[in-house]
Symmetry: C2
Subunit: 356 residues, 2 copies
């Protein structure tokens, strides 16, 4: 009888011990999970929940006008260039090209980034020479390679002829001159500010640990541990600062960039605008939201795939060689930054026709 008792006790003890070990392991994993989430919360921020329309400057009339103008191509000097030409819903707000194309088939010097969430970035363009989406839209009107108008007056005259006067009058009631290049910028900016794309990573940051797969979490950890989050952080996972592209080596030695006609050599980033040597090769850090949907990569579109881009960045910026597993994990994390194409953006507006 005693023997049995001992045996049973041993079994019970062993079982209890096993349960305890299991609990400890689970508790350890849960605690690691919580630590990762806490770390992530300190580095990143979810997209604002509230619609940008809460901003009183972004009235529905301005957003609707901005949407029409975003898709409007007849204001350009060849009649075929609009914001939508380089920022299409079919390509997640980009154009899928290494380098974009402007009026009259001119190849632009840089890759078109997605328009999604771009209003939240520190500045616009790779060199940051546009302070806001509004300024970007206005200045594009007279850019030789974008819309190609000689003057703002010329663009305004086209808008009036196309029948947009009542749209501007309604959206900018009370302005001395409602139809103006400045209000073109305000309207397009209002529309662009609505183009936010919440993703699984936002749900994760708000505490839903299951929003990310185990591999995506491992990738997030690797992304942080490797140092990627040193620049790619904040609400847009990048896009909040400028950094030199090519810290360990000149970037073109690694990316395979070819010498650029547009820059009579390699693109020197902010230097192209400021002519200040301190700005040489300084570029705005790219936001990584929707990055899995917007190849090719870099300011010159020289990386065709996301894996390639991740590997090159680690080498060029951090001097690290990532393993295939590390790259795959980071890519899995980056995929959790993919949101939905905003439904209103995917629905083409019907644009005004000339009067009879």
């Amino acid at each position: 009888m005693r023997k049995w008792t001992v045996l049973i006790s041993s079994v019970a003890a062993a079982s209890l011990c096993g349960v305890a070990l299991l609990v400890a392991t689970t508790a350890g994993a849960a605690s690691d999970d919580q630590a990762l989430l806490d770390k992530a919360k300190s580095l990143f921020k979810p997209l604002p929940d509230s619609s940008a329309l809460e901003n009183t400057a972004l009235t529905p009339d301005r957003v609707a006008l901005g949407k029409a103008l975003f898709f409007e191509t007849r204001v350009s000097s060849d009649g075929r260039q609009g914001c939508v030409s380089c920022h299409s819903p079919s390509y997640y707000g980009g154009d899928s090209l290494p380098l974009s194309m402007g009026v009259h088939g001119k190849v632009l010097p840089r890759n078109a980034p997605t328009v999604f969430n771009t209003s939240l970035l520190v500045a616009q363009h790779y060199g940051g020479n546009r302070a806001s989406v509004e300024e970007q839209a206005v200045k594009a009107l007279t850019s030789l390679v974008a819309y190609g108008n000689a003057t703002y007056e010329q663009a305004e005259k086209k808008l009036a002829l196309l029948g947009y006067q009542p749209w501007f009058d309604k959206a900018f009631a009370g302005d001395a001159k409602p139809l103006s290049a400045e209000n073109w910028g305000k309207a397009i900016g209002a529309f662009e500010r609505t183009l936010l794309t919440p993703a699984p990573f936002d749900r994760y940051l708000k505490g839903d640990s299951k929003a990310l797969s185990a591999q995506a979490k491992q990738g997030l950890k690797t992304f942080i541990d490797t140092g990627c989050a040193g620049c790619h952080n904040g609400v847009t996972v990048g896009g909040q600062s400028f950094q030199k592209f090519g810290i360990t080596q000149d970037y073109w030695l690694v990316t395979g960039s070819t010498e650029k006609e547009a820059f009579k050599g390699y693109d020197k980033g902010r230097f192209q605008d400021t002519k200040n040597e301190a700005d040489a090769f300084m570029f705005k850090v790219s936001q990584l939201r929707n990055v899995a949907m917007t190849p090719p990569y870099f300011h010159d579109g020289s990386a065709a795939t996301l894996s390639q881009a991740v590997r090159i960045m680690a080498q060029l910026q951090l001097g690290k060689q990532l393993s295939d597993t590390q790259v795959a994990d980071i890519v899995s994390f980056l995929e959790s930054l993919t949101g939905e194409v905003p439904a209103d953006f995917a629905k083409a507006p019907i644009l005004p026709v000339a009067s009879h």
Copy 2:
């Protein structure tokens, strides 16, 4: 007493007479209305009610693939030219330009007609040198000014690299080679065959007399009486035959066309393809469905407004000078041919991205 009786009888008789006159007038108007409807029914046909999908060749998989390919720009030699470039939902299936633009900013020799209902026309292109929407789509792939591919093989290779192999495998299961230029044409054709735009005029032809305003009915009558319906008839109100453009005079003397670089002179229509003098200046009669939404007009886009186009056609083709009222009435009738942009067409497809 007798006097009163006479008086009352007279009043009663006069009243009765008035009622009778009113009845006669109403009956006359109703009979005119019915005569116009009967005449219209003999000249025109409503769009098919049934979805084109009833055709077993147009399976949902083919239509979905065709829609993606219609919006796909990366198959062209500059990466930015797709069917949608000249046939946009924002411009009622056209591009709003006098002359369209092809790859690398090349100006095309002719205006882009709307893609809506085009599958129902006698042939494709102004010169009718494409028998079907399928043939048009296939041949565009290697057209120097459209997609600019050197060979069909080159285009097929791009489609495979972009990730379309599984789409073709599904849509053309059982084919020895599902991903082919031929099936590119079949898929795009399937999608285009769904782009039908029923309009108020169809409801009218089916007996709903109130679907047209009084002015539109007057315009329909003028359209028929003037002779416009001699060519602009059938289900697409035109598009069913070829006619010489410029019967009473050379067209460019009236339209304001300028000499065309592309043709080393004026565009001679079918002659450009056949080199047969009998075809000189023969063009496909344009369909008039959605015409109010697709300025500018004619093969060279030389008429900016619909009123102008109506007036010029009456003069050039029928030797008639229309009054302002007649033009306004006809325009009112033509507006009854405006349907809705198909909802599925207005919703941009999200296209495949390169693999990681």
